[in-house]
């Protein structure tokens, strides 16, 4: 390695210590041809994090920000294809998708050979060893340990033979994650393991794609103990170089990473140039530099100066930088269009309002609930409060998932005061007379929630319905909702745990009442039958028929009022290539940067 490389890196990344620069330069030197000094300037991506991560220990996080960072350091057994839509699973640490035995409950998982953990002091000689089946078994047991409180335990709860019993035992006494047996987890050979499920469950594969169930090295857990959350040692595309929770996170490319850029994508990707890196070894960017920038102004100013490569756009800057096109899409204003690109994609979250089916007034009066549905002006809220960043929903499933309204043809009523008044009269409250103010519980106390409530209040008042708001933080609101202490509740919505419609229909399943996510306490036999029939089916006409049944029940009984699919909006520098916003995998390892253009600046 050359000291010139080290000095050059320090110029690119102020704050890089000499030791870090030497380490980085050393890592890049592995890419150089023998006899040559470092030929190419390292590619550095700058991205401002919006919040400090909780932990880089896979089992101790389940927020979006931490999960993205964990996936930089750790490969998952399965992952979502970067370019394909709808989202689909593909093998990552595995050679191929798990083989399902004839009994339909035994899965055989074969690991790719030659995948290595990052070099780290926890290994003999500091050299990362090969990933083996024992690591996966160890990690699943660690994930199931009740004392370690994995937030995402629900993904495997009840799914694997013997794992729940293991978890129950771990709550009472310490367990050895390396040796304690679990009936449904078996090592077949050094790179093969089997998992026996409690029942046929196609959804189980999604749990092998979440960041919490990735494979970790027991040596690293033993060495770092409580500090494992800031000392990740994984098999992912990047290695941590600097882990400051509230400062700069720096990642260096893993030169031994096993994946290549995809050769196929969704229709239109080739035309957009998203396949030009096909077959190239990943990751393409050498260094990720991620300072924490929580406030919108400094983040946007740094982006406008070229110090960040991509960023979401906050509301204040949105109105200045973006305008609607005649077709309803978005474009940058001319001042910014010459310098930047925007992206807007449908997200994987839905918002809705819960109605308390156990409340004597709300739960006992279908006409009243239907009136409230017709008084909810979701499109107005999207246009006025969200700058058009949302898509009104006709079914509970995000639009990018199979089984959404695109597949089922669902319909859903909109804001209609006349219809609402008629229904109110039918409910025994003509023009709202005799109807007491309804308790409207809101999770959140910021100006955003208050403005949204004021908007809803004005809309409801058009038909004489009065609302009485209670704002509280999220945990308090959830606790109150579970206790049935609300009539109408805006608890924020639901973000997909995995890309399957089941993850959304389960929100109204009768067995998922509190403490589950069925906050409406909806219990409908026909709905439950359709849900149970559909939940483990593969997508297709039969399954979508069950979805239609559930959609119709939701529309008729109104246990919840559907609102919007979120839209993710952001802006990026023109020198950032291969960018396709993905809601389920972090894009970083696929991105490329034209460093000459970046150096030239804006």
């Amino acid at each position: 390695m050359s000291f010139d490389s080290q000095a050059h890196l320090q110029r690119l990344m102020p704050g890089l210590t000499r030791r870090e620069a030497l380490a980085a330069a050393g890592s890049f030197s592995l890419l150089s041809l023998p006899g040559m000094a470092l030929a190419q300037e390292p590619k550095v991506l700058h991205y401002g994090r919006l919040s400090p991560f909780d932990s880089l220990d896979p089992i101790r996080q389940f927020d979006l920000d931490s999960s993205e960072l964990v996936q930089l350091c750790y490969g998952t057994l399965l992952a979502y294809a970067y370019l394909d839509r709808p989202y689909k699973l593909e093998p990552d640490l595995l050679e191929r998708l798990p083989e399902v035995a004839a009994d339909k409950v035994t899965l055989t998982l074969r690991l790719r050979k030659g995948i290595r953990f990052h070099d780290n002091a926890c290994f003999p000689g500091g050299k990362g060893r090969e990933l083996v089946a024992d690591d996966v078994l160890y990690s699943i047991k660690r994930y199931a340990d009740a004392k370690l409180n994995s937030k995402s335990w629900f993904a495997m709860e009840g799914a694997v033979v013997g794992l729940d019993a293991f978890r129950a035992a771990s709550a009472k006494a310490p367990v050895d994650h390396r040796t304690a047996p679990v009936e449904g987890l078996k090592r077949i050979d050094s790179h093969t393991l089997s998992i026996k499920l409690t029942r046929e469950n196609p959804l189980f594969l999604f749990s092998l794609a979440i960041s919490s169930t990735t494979a970790v090295a027991h040596e690293a857990v033993a060495m770092y103990g409580d500090q494992f959350g800031v000392n990740p040692v994984g098999t992912g595309p990047y290695m941590i170089s600097k882990a400051e929770r509230k400062g700069v996170l720096r990642f260096l490319k893993n030169p031994n990473y096993h994946q290549s850029y995809p050769s196929t994508g969704a229709p239109g990707d080739a035309e957009k140039g998203l396949l030009k890196s096909a077959g190239r070894k990943l990751p393409l960017i050498d260094v990720l530099e991620m300072p924490l920038i929580e406030e919108p102004q400094p983040g946007m100013l740094k982006f406008l100066k070229g110090e960040l490569d991509w960023r979401g756009v906050d509301r204040a800057n949105f109105t200045k930088m973006v305008r609607r096109k005649p077709d309803g899409g978005f474009e940058l204003t001319p001042e910014f269009a010459a310098k930047f690109e925007i992206y807007n994609v449908l997200g994987v979250a839905v918002t809705y309002i819960n109605l308390n089916m156990k409340d004597p007034l709300i739960g006992g009066n279908k006409a009243l609930r239907q009136a409230l549905l017709h008084l909810t002006d979701t499109q107005g809220e999207i246009d006025v409060l969200l700058n058009g960043l949302g898509q009104k929903l006709k079914s509970i499933v995000p639009l990018e998932f199979p089984g959404s309204e695109r597949d089922t043809g669902a319909t859903y009523p909109g804001y209609d005061v006349a219809r609402a008044k008629a229904l109110l009269a039918q409910a025994g409250f003509p023009d709202g007379k005799g109807l007491p103010p309804l308790l409207y519980r809101v999770a959140g106390t910021s100006s955003t929630e208050r403005t949204a409530f004021d908007f809803a209040k004005a809309r409801y008042a058009a038909a004489g319905v009065q609302l009485r708001a209670e704002f509280s933080d999220y945990p308090t609101a959830i606790k109150a909702a579970e206790a049935g202490n609300f009539q109408i509740a805006n608890l924020g919505g639901w973000v997909a745990d995995y890309p399957d419609a089941e993850n959304f229909y389960q929100l109204l399943y009768g067995k998922n009442v509190a403490p589950g996510p069925n906050h409406s306490a909806f219990a409908n036999a026909a709905y439950d039958r359709a849900y149970e029939a559909a939940r483990l089916m593969s997508n297709g006409p039969q399954r979508f028929a069950h979805f239609r049944t559930m959609n119709d029940i939701i529309k008729d009984e109104v246990p919840m009022i559907l609102r919007a699919n979120n839209v993710r909006f952001g802006i990026r520098q023109k020198w950032l290539g291969n960018f396709k916003r993905n809601e389920l995998v972090p894009e970083y390892k696929y991105l490329d940067i034209d460093m000459a253009a970046k150096k030239k600046g804006i």
Partner: protein
Amino acid sequence: MLAYILRRLLLAVPTVLGVALLTFLLFNAFGPDPVRAALGNHATPEAIANLRAQWGLDQSLPMQFVEFLRQIVTFDYGKSYVTQEDLGQQLKAGAWVSLSVTAPPFIVGGIVNVLLALVIARWRDGLADKASRALFIAGMSISALVYVLVLQYLLAYKLGWFPISGYVSGPGAVVYLALPWLILLIVAMGPDIRLYRTLFLDEANADYVRTARSKGASEGRVLLRHVLPNAWIPIITNNVTTLPFLILGSFLMERFFSIPGIGSLTIDALARGDLPILKAVTVLGAIALVLFNLLSDLLYAWADPRVRLS
């Protein structure tokens, strides 16, 4: 003096106990549920019970309070609910960073503002005095947030004189801290100079000052040798009681300039319901306030020989 100090320290104990009790009640009895916040949407009754037991939240409130008192006495506040990191290390690291943000403008501003107030008092009721009064009142009417937003935009983004945000440890931090320092200096100027000017003018009308003038002392000598020493006590009060807040940092500066001090740590803890951090910061702040009040009293005795500590 020693007896006085010991007596004051003993008197501080019920004060700190009171703060601890109030903090405990506010966060434990009335605050949000940290277990639900930690476990998220998919919390099951078993997971909730398990985590409560781990965090000692299944104990009765009196027992939890006893444990809290033990933490205060031993300065061992345990671990963050969110990150599982040791709080002692986090707070220590954060305190130094926060001090690097707040201490320099405090010290420089303290000296500069006193001197400026003396100069303005020297030419009281003149054009400079009237103009500065109007300027400082206008300046005080503007929220600190506006200074941050405008100066960050103008001086960092438009003119490029400072980095927009960021922080590095070590001597390189000066580059990143320069703009926050400047903003803190500007924000403190108005209230401090107006206060000091008033103090100096009050003293300037005293009999002993009239005597000094009648004896032929120059106005400068009158201000420096007679007025300033007699105005020390309120100046000390104004500054020493600010000292604990230096350690707590400037929430605004740390947030907008991405500086990892205690201020931003506290805001994050508030947003995420990380009660151990909030309780630790509150109680440590109370202890610091008590200690610095004592320091303030001791400095009175130094500043004014007439003050007897008893």
